[in-house]
Symmetry: C2
Subunit: 408 residues, 2 copies
């Protein structure tokens, strides 16, 4: 008998039929003797509907009141889910975040969980109930309703699993696991049976969108066994996200390939090579709340240097304006240019740590296809390259093949 936390997202509870499906799945686990805690999101579209309603009244809604409204989305779903379970003859009981108490700080719309009172849930489980908890929400020390921000239901699931010392936290989504890369780009992409947290973090931040980064970090911190599964398939073991590298003896060198084309590149050419120049360039960018991803600086031979970094495409023009207005004259840069026709492709794998030659194999593979590399950035378990956007799919496919990631 295991204690399992199952988290279902908005598409898994989008209508009464899907909620009945969810209940039947829970019933199967219950029949095996497991104790089940179900965490649900709002029915898909509901959160956006509530936010739009609030904005009709007040264009920049007060965050405390917005949370009061938005939290009703999950509250409706927990009621429906408990009813669907009862309709199958299963004892069930619902809890809002405040009822549990999932105590958070008071940062409305983006609160962080401080601690969870798990006693009532444990008592209900021991009394034979399935416990249904509203994801995405909590309550601060003063009793105000808070929400955790987008993707917060994953975090609720992981945090509950940690508090209850659950055997596994299952995240049900519309994909059946984590793949070596996006199957829409590489049809031979293969579902991974397991992946480490670090790899998952790199894949998530590199553009895979299966799980929210924050919930993965949370799971890593509390050593919660996380499994990604499809809510639309009866069977299937999904992908287990582990926190121990040696869980799998046959660990491949590369686990997956991530990519995105949401970034744009900004190059500052002919900058005098002196201390403080990076701060002089990026300080005004940060002040404007523009996130910077990759940063590269090369020292040139003539006492000048070229400075390159990437920002989100939507912020390219804003960043260029800031640099040209406030920075270029000040630092004496020769030229400032932007390019939004780029893509980032990353290979990720903990096996890199113990294998040499991974980078050179990646570069050779791209060179053989005539794909020029514009920027390179590396971490311990990741190599990311920026290339011309039009080669992105080709790069993903040839790398997928070169690192033998395809379906066996």
């Amino acid at each position: 008998m295991a204690l399992i936390v199952q988290k279902y997202g908005g598409t898994s509870v989008a209508n009464p039929d899907r909620i009945r499906n969810l209940a039947r799945r829970v019933a199967r686990y219950k029949a095996l003797g497991h104790q089940i805690v179900v965490v649900v999101s709002a029915m898909s579209g509901e959160t956006n509907r509530l936010i739009a309603l609030a904005k009709e009244i007040m264009p920049n809604p007060d965050p405390r009141e917005l949370d009061v409204m938005v939290s009703t989305g999950e509250q409706v779903t927990i009621g429906l889910t408990a009813l669907a379970l009862m309709d199958l003859g299963i004892k069930a009981k619902s809890y809002t975040g405040a009822q549990v108490r999932i105590v958070t700080d008071s940062a409305f719309t983006k609160a962080r969980i401080l601690h969870i009172d798990e006693e009532r849930i444990r008592a209900d489980l021991n009394a034979g109930n399935v416990v249904v908890v509203a994801g995405f929400q909590g309550v601060d020390e003063q009793g105000n309703i808070t929400t955790l921000g987008r993707g917060g239901s994953d975090t609720t699931g992981v945090a509950l699993a940690a508090a209850l010392k659950a055997d596994e936290c299952q995240i049900y989504t519309d994909v059946d696991g984590v793949y070596t890369t996006d199957p829409r780009v590489e049809p031979n992409a293969r579902r991974l049976k397991s992946i480490t947290f670090e790899e998952m973090l790199e894949l998530a931040s590199q553009g895979s969108k299966v799980l929210q980064i924050r919930s993965v970090e949370f799971a890593g911190k509390y050593k919660v066994k996380l499994r990604v599964l499809s809510s639309f398939e009866e069977e299937g073991e999904g992908t287990l996200i582990t926190f121990e590298e040696n869980d799998n003896m046959e660990q491949p060198i590369i686990s997956g390939i991530a990519f995105n084309r949401d970034e744009a590149k900004i190059t500052v050419l002919g900058v005098p090579d002196r201390p403080g120049i990076a701060y002089q360039i990026l300080g005004p960018i940060a002040d404007a709340n523009i996130d910077v991803d990759i940063i590269i600086q090369n020292t040139g031979a003539d006492g000048t240097t070229d400075f390159t970094f990437t920002v989100h495409k939507n912020e390219l023009n804003k960043a260029l304006d800031i640099l040209r207005d406030k920075v270029q004259g000040h630092i004496g840069a020769r030229e400032i240019s932007g390019d939004d026709k780029i893509a980032k492709v990353s290979i990720v794998g903990v096996g890199m740590r113990s294998h040499v030659g991974v980078a050179s194999q990646m570069f050779r593979t791209l060179a053989e296809e005539g794909i020029n590399i514009q920027m390179i950035s590396t971490s311990e378990i990741k190599i990311a390259v920026v290339i011309d956007e039009k080669y992105m799919e080709l790069a993903v496919r040839v790398l997928h093949k070169a690192f033998e990631l395809e379906e066996a």
Copy 2:
């Protein structure tokens, strides 16, 4: 400076425009220096939508879970209302029933308020906030969400006014007050400036639908000054419902005329006149959960009696079946007949207590129009007659004129 509780029903918060209207009204009261607590219902239609959704999953929804879902209706409205006030530059803060804490018993879907913690609201008011409270809902001692049943928002308003010792509880509705009778039947009907609780109770139970009976009883118990106002008019003083008869020196004898045609009459003829006969007739009716309104029994000369009572029209056939199957033979009644072509017309007024001749004036007025009276029932401040349905409007109009209730 007064402390005023204002309660707004579902039609007053049906859409963002109406909520903005509500906020402007609150702003006007606030500008006069008053402290305001606003109690709101769910947007009209929302409660029914949520109940229908629950029934899609479970035809007879578990009441605890139904309350979890249904209570979200008011929770959305409190957020919207607080935002609309803030948008006008007014400090506002919303509370669910559980947050206040409005503590109820655990009778889900029809809970009764046990007590209210009013300290937080009072602190917020003293800090200059308008406090917005969700009507219709509370929380039991175990922390479960409860609802008070239909019309419960009126009760919330009155209960909060009692707990806060408010100067007045204003109930905003789609009529601008309590009238001497329904203006659709008698165009000369006049709005009453004030009415006593007892009269209001009689009018409400006799078919006027301005206020929920339960909230009027509650207001009477705690001596809360209640005022009915229109939410669609800028000005207007509505109708004050008082708990002291001498509030108005010019108290008329009759305050209003109520009527309804929802009832049907059942007559049991030729019943042996012996003890226990009323119970033998009405016991099986009560066992079938059929409500009985007026009951009349006349002793005849031949040792038999005729027994007449009224039930809701929808239950006439069910009641007749029960009587014919289980009762008629048993008690030896000669005949059992039903009539659903009846109407009940009542005159109500505390002035009756000190004036003789009110009943005879009523009967004479009806006689002059050739309207036959089938049943008569009286209380200290009410005389109700059952007549042929087709004379109902005529009876209301001639009584309205006879008791000089028309617009001056």
